[in-house]
């Protein structure tokens, strides 16, 4: 596989240099790998810090800005960042109102953020943590590392970000984030495998006529391999996998998310099928977001995330946001 890179070793640093140039509205510390809102710390505001392996852009760095994250810590490609980054980010955004760590549920992210929380608290920062684990393809049991954090991360970061920007206190922001996660479910499919810069070849072999159902965002194979399906069949599989786990009572936010290499033309067509299936299943829809938001490098495929919202969560979702990756109302 060919990549638009210099050498695999500098991919993350190069991207941060490029981000720094393109986004003067952010403070990008290339050396220490922390992306921070320029105006941080905002007096009286809870700081929101997230992070994870690189390769999921615009997540998380592209979601830093007013109305969303205060800071993000990008790790190596598909590798959780290290505690030092998170501690530094927490210190940079804490105004005294405390910091919320938004952590996708992967062993690496959990362990590193846990260590960072201890260290940050040693330095006098009040830290709360919320775990994002929305992927219904993984059974949450003793026999797995628990459900993965995928598309719901965007909902958690946006809605908790709005709550924080309103000046809500740490417990409230944490509770909102937790509620968004609990209300969210995702399911993803891959039409192609991922090629990481370090490996340089696809992480697994996915033949022409087949697809993977129940994939994550790190190039892992999914739960099941199937003969190729149409967009309509995939929409049914994804929505039904989610509805098998939860029956939405409230209207839902829908994220139809591309894994990176699926053209927007296809994503919109897929959205049409997702909406058809939601309609047939009687799920009321409040808002729809279509695009490449929580990606897996050059993977072709898509995921569907549903998040049930009450009026308060919907209000926070609609609140203004201004980040490189998500922007409205300002």
């Amino acid at each position: 596989m060919k990549m638009l890179i210099n050498v695999p070793e500098t991919v993350v640093a190069d991207a941060l240099r490029g981000m720094a140039a393109a986004h003067p509205e952010l403070t990008v510390d290339v050396e220490n790998r922390v992306i921070v809102r320029k105006d941080a710390p905002v007096a009286g505001k809870v700081g929101l810090v997230s992070g994870g392996g690189s390769g999921h852009e615009p997540l998380h760095g592209g979601f830093v800005g007013p109305g969303m994250l205060s800071a993000a810590c990008p790790g190596e490609v598909f590798t959780s960042p290290v505690p030092d980054q998170m501690v530094r980010a927490a210190a940079a955004v804490d105004s005294g109102a405390g910091v919320l760590f938004i952590v996708k549920n992967y062993t690496g992210d959990v362990l590193n953020f846990d260590m960072a929380a201890e260290l940050a608290e040693d330095e006098g920062v009040q830290v709360a943590k919320v775990l994002v684990n929305d992927d219904v393809a993984v059974t949450d049991s003793l026999y797995t590392a628990g459900r993965r954090g995928t598309g719901a991360t965007l909902f958690v970061e946006k809605i908790a970000g709005a709550a924080a920007d309103e000046g809500q206190p740490l417990e409230r922001v944490e509770a909102v984030a937790r509620q968004v996660n609990e209300n969210s479910r995702s399911f993803g499919v891959a039409l192609s495998a991922v090629t990481t810069p370090a490996k340089g070849s696809p992480t697994f072999d996915l033949p022409q006529g087949e697809l993977e159902l129940g994939i994550g965002i790190h190039g892992e194979p999914g739960r099941e391999r199937r003969p190729m399906m149409t967009a309509g069949e995939i929409a049914e599989a994804a929505v039904d996998a989610i509805l098998a786990d939860v029956t939405p009572r409230n209207p839902v936010l829908v994220l139809v998310n591309g894994m990176g290499a699926t053209p927007l033309l296809e994503l919109y067509g897929f959205n049409a099928e997702v909406q058809r299936v939601l309609g047939e299943r009687g799920v009321p829809v409040a808002r729809i977001l279509v695009g490449n938001y929580v990606t897996s490098l050059d993977m072709a495929g898509a995921s569907v995330t549903l998040c049930q919202v009450d009026e308060e969560l919907l209000r926070l979702w609609d609140a203004p946001v201004s980040t490189p990756g998500l922007r409205w109302g300002m």
């Binding site: 790790g75 690496g108 697994f204 739960r223």
Partner: protein
């Protein structure tokens, strides 16, 4: 059974350097093992970490066995990331702390320190033997340390291979359910490299490690 040998800071440095060298050599294999059941970064992760360890040890070698391991553990935590960074970091840091500031330790103490480290890893990551993780190689290796480094090495290597038929219950591979069966665990494989490097270090020269 064999005689008691004395392990000084130089031995521990050689151990870390030998590990760095073999991780370097085997990085691509570790990443390849991490592809079908993981995210293809294990080799790169450990190489980044042990390169930092090597650089630090070469710049300012700590004076005691405990300090060597504590430094190595701390560097793994702050350079690696992922699951393996905190886990290996904790293993070495806890082992180092357990050794205290003795200038020399014996094999018995090393085994006890590593056992404490492995316990800390089990506590941190929640994995038990049979979950298809580094724990599967570390536990039998530490048990065999009572006999000899060579025995520990074979135990770890065999245990790593023995993860192949297991279904993963921890880490990324667990997402695959039954599809994780039939692949050797990358972390168990790198754990075997760490244990094998003890033997290299005991051979006395740092040749392999520098």
């Amino acid at each position: 059974m064999r005689g008691v040998s004395v392990l000084d800071a130089a031995f521990f440095r050689r151990w870390m350097l030998a590990t760095a060298a073999s991780v370097d050599r085997e990085a691509e294999r570790l990443t390849a093992l991490d592809s079908p059941i993981g995210d293809a970064d294990h080799g790169g992760n450990l190489r980044r970490g042990f390169t930092a360890v090597r650089d630090a040890l070469e710049k300012e070698p700590p004076a005691t066995p405990g300090a060597v391991l504590t430094l190595a553990g701390r560097l793994l935590i702050s350079k690696v990331g992922g699951a393996s960074g905190p886990l290996y970091g904790t293993l070495l840091r806890r082992a180092g702390k357990t050794l205290g500031d003795a200038a020399e330790v014996d094999e018995q103490q090393l085994a006890e320190a590593l056992r404490a480290g492995v316990d800390a890893v089990r506590q941190l990551g929640g994995a038990a033997p049979g979950d298809k993780t580094m724990i599967d190689a570390l536990v039998p290796a530490v048990d065999a340390l009572g006999s000899s480094f060579a025995a520990a090495r074979s135990a770890a290597e065999e245990a790593a291979v023995a993860t192949t038929p297991m279904q993963a219950h921890k880490g990324r591979a667990s997402y695959l359910g039954e599809r994780s069966i039939g692949h050797q665990d990358p972390g168990a494989t790198s754990a075997a490299l760490l244990i094998a490097a003890l033997e290299t270090a005991a051979a006395g020269t740092e040749a392999d490690g520098e």
